[in-house]
């Protein structure tokens, strides 16, 4: 872009400018020290090889985006994370959101479901239907998608420990609706390693968990070719306290572990890599977030090509969903969250996301109401149709600042990945508590910054309203939802063919003790209305349960 002579001219001009700035700063000091410089110029990107490092959209290394036309051809999928109480109530919310212009579904499951317990398990007390929908059996899954053609809408399911079981239920629902597995599209999160370090909804120890994951990789590549077999969770790592660099690095290290496990069981990289998808967060620092997405795309393309020799362009593309950061929303002055969510979503769009979920303004207080869920969706629609952000591809490319940030994040993430490689890979690093410790330090430092007023949070440590009264308008899950769900479960157990259930569970147990792919056994079991708790119970007996390390 610039020849040597021009760069020297810029350097000299910048020196003169710096002298003037220093004089000015002597009189008017900077209001705060920032980790970034006050000015970025072509000198910050002077060594960049444009075509090799930035290039064109839709071409390796995909820094500028994974498609040639990006949003000029098709807007991102608007996919709000949603689910609460019973399957029927969640079904109503999905239909409402689809009627409001949402273009994909994203299912939030309640905690008992995420941890493989039925609603009548003692540990499920008080949790049924709270942070998502309760799914005990195929009957609930049928009700969840009643009147929604899953052949036409893609569905993302945030499920990890029992992801294979929920996928089996989804396939069975498809069959009932007359949809062939090859017609189904969507995603299971299926990322267990991040559960051990960030989100806590694990069931089994790492080894059998990895087997369930590679079984889904193998089954889907043969039978459900459009299905995203994993959505590697960078989001949760960041929300648990990581920095932007750690978010990229730790999620990539986990993904490397999944790929290594899949290769070890004999899968071919280009058979499953095209179906690896990702979920990132969009946090508050607009430019750092945009740079993070660009850096992540470039870094992943390089890893796939150089480390794994993947040749299909789709294997090299980092395709991702973004969920705006819930952890930075404040319970104080919750309307401020609308603004925060808007620029977080803008960062995701400027960063070239394929799919986006925006938080609702009341999420630091409770689950979103219908009104706040609609406003969160409208925020995306406003950005899509009114802001101009979707008019051209990767509009911040070439910003000296953004390109330099992109380089920095990529470089620092590479260093972390090398460190984790040297420890023996993500699974061992997690066992040693390495990532957890790194994140814990950052989470605490972040909190200290807020408390020392080095980081301003409007409404929390500055511009505080002492007379603030929280609005009473928030969503309450009916306290009898748990009771109703338990009732339903007991009716189901009374009327299903319990001999068939026992037979499929026995077959599953035998397969789990061996090495066969478990997916066909899981599909057989869910079709007899064996419950999630029963199925996971069998697997718990065979695989054991994970116990976390308690260091804080």
């Amino acid at each position: 872009m610039f020849n040597e002579k021009k760069l020297t001219e810029i350097e000299q001009s910048q020196k003169t400018w710096q002298d003037k700035l220093d004089k000015s700063l002597a009189k008017f000091p900077e209001r705060q020290k920032f980790a970034v410089k006050s000015l970025y110029t072509p000198l910050d990107n002077a060594k960049s090889d444009y075509l090799a490092e930035v290039g064109l959209p839709g071409e390796f290394p995909f820094t500028r985006g994974i498609q040639q036309g990006m949003y000029r051809t098709k807007l991102w999928t608007m996919r709000q994370y949603s689910g609460m109480a019973s399957a029927e109530e969640s079904n109503q919310r999905y239909k409402y959101l689809l009627a409001q212009g949402q273009t994909g579904l994203s299912v939030a499951f309640d905690l008992p479901t995420q941890i493989g317990y039925d609603s009548d398990h003692p540990l499920a007390q008080g949790e049924v239907g709270k942070v998502g929908v309760a799914i005990d059996s195929l009957a609930d899954m049928e009700a969840l998608f009643d009147g929604i053609s899953i052949e036409k809408v893609s569905t993302s399911m945030t499920i990890n420990g029992p992801a294979a079981v929920l996928l089996a239920m989804y396939v069975a629902v498809g069959e009932k609706q007359g949809a062939k597995p090859e017609a189904l599209s969507g995603t299971i999160q299926n990322d267990i390693l991040k559960e051990y370090i960030a989100r806590g909804t694990y069931i089994f120890p790492p080894q059998p968990s990895m087997r369930l994951i590679t079984d889904t990789f193998a089954y889907c590549s043969q039978n459900i070719p459009k299905w995203n077999v994993i959505s590697v969770g960078a989001y949760h790592i960041r929300e648990a306290g990581a920095t932007a660099v750690q978010e990229v690095a730790f999620a990539f290290a986990n993904a490397i572990a999944y790929i290594d496990a899949a290769l070890k069981v004999g899968l071919n990289i280009d058979d499953f890599a095209p179906n690896i998808s990702w979920i990132f967060t969009a946090d508050l620092d607009l430019f750092e977030e945009v740079a993070k997405f660009r850096a992540a795309r470039r870094l992943w393309a390089g890893i796939m090509k150089e480390r794994y020799g993947a040749t299909k362009p789709k294997s090299q593309m980092l395709r991702f969903h973004v969920h705006t950061a819930g952890s930075v929303l404040t319970a104080q002055q919750p309307d401020n969250n609308i603004a925060r969510i808007t620029w977080q979503a803008l960062a995701a769009i400027l960063g070239g996301t394929q799919s986006l979920a925006t938080c609702a303004k009341d999420e630091a207080i409770s689950l979103p109401t219908e009104d706040s869920a609609r406003l969160a969706l409208r925020t995306q629609q406003l950005l899509a149709y009114e802001s101009g952000a979707a008019k051209t591809v990767d509009p911040l490319a070439g910003s000296y600042y953004v390109e330099q940030l992109t380089d920095r994040i990529e470089q620092q993430a590479k260093e972390y990945i090398a460190k984790i490689d040297s420890l023996g890979g993500a699974a061992i690093a997690i066992e040693k508590g390495y990532m957890q410790a790194e994140m814990s330090v950052c989470a605490y430092a972040y909190q200290r910054e807020i408390e020392n007023n080095e980081r301003i949070v409007v409404g929390v440590n500055k511009f505080v309203n002492d007379d603030e009264v929280q609005s009473g308008d928030y969503l309450k899950v009916d306290p009898v939802a748990g009771e109703k769900q338990r009732q339903r479960l007991s009716e189901l157990k009374a009327k299903r063919d319990n001999d068939r259930v026992a037979k499929t569970l026995a077959a599953l147990r035998q397969a789990a003790n061996g090495t066969e792919n478990l997916m066909p056994y899981l599909i057989d079991a869910v079709k007899t209305y064996a419950t999630l708790g029963e199925i996971c119970g069998v697997l718990r007996e065979v695989f054991g349960e994970y116990k976390a390390n308690l260091e804080v």
């Binding site: 905690l111 008992p112 995420q114 941890i115 317990y117 003692p122 540990l123 499920a124 007390q125 008080g126 949790e127 709270k130 942070v131 559960e195 989100r199 806590g200 909804t201 929300e239 648990a240 306290g241 952890s327 929303l329 404040t330 319970a331 104080q332 999420e363 630091a364 207080i365 409770s366 689950l367 814990s440 989470a443 605490y444 909190q447 807020i450 408390e451 949070v457 409404g459 929390v460 440590n461 929280q470 009473g472 928030y474 899950v477 306290p479 976390a548 308690l550 804080v552």
Partner: protein, 131 residues
């Protein structure tokens, strides 16, 4: 010399979001308290049993899943059954203001919602234990 304040930071229920619990554990430790963290997925019974065994002054409960309306009162019931009159219980997490009154009526001394300064929690504990 005054005995150091002992705090059990507890995660009842199935919620796995423990960033807050870990941050508060560090802050209390930095303030000179002895902190025991239960880890995830504790039943109210396990928490109260640990509190008894460890002879703590304070139990700090953290829940972000909305299950506080069941789990917090259950902990208070068990505390009362065991006659642990001197233990101070506080709670934190994503808890709507309209639930706070009912929770305090069960004997929970204070509820801290997102955005709370850890110094406030420290001062609250120091004052309450000193009473």
């Amino acid at each position: 010399m005054m005995k150091r304040i002992r705090v059990l930071v507890a995660k009842p229920g199935l919620d796995g979001h423990d960033r807050g619990a870990k941050v508060i554990s560090r802050a209390l430790r930095d303030a000179g308290m002895e902190v025991i963290y239960t880890g995830l997925r504790q039943t109210p019974e396990q928490i109260v049993e640990t509190a008894l065994q460890e002879d703590v002054n304070v139990i700090a409960l953290s829940v972000l899943s909305g299950a506080h309306t069941y789990l917090f009162p259950r902990v208070m019931e068990l505390i009362s059954e065991k006659g642990m009159k001197d233990v101070i219980v506080i709670g934190g997490g994503v808890i709507p203001e309209s639930d706070i009154c009912a929770l305090k009526a069960t004997g929970i001394r204070e509820i801290f919602t997102p955005g709370t300064n850890t110094r406030r929690v420290i001062e609250f504990i120091q004052t309450a234990v000193g009473e």
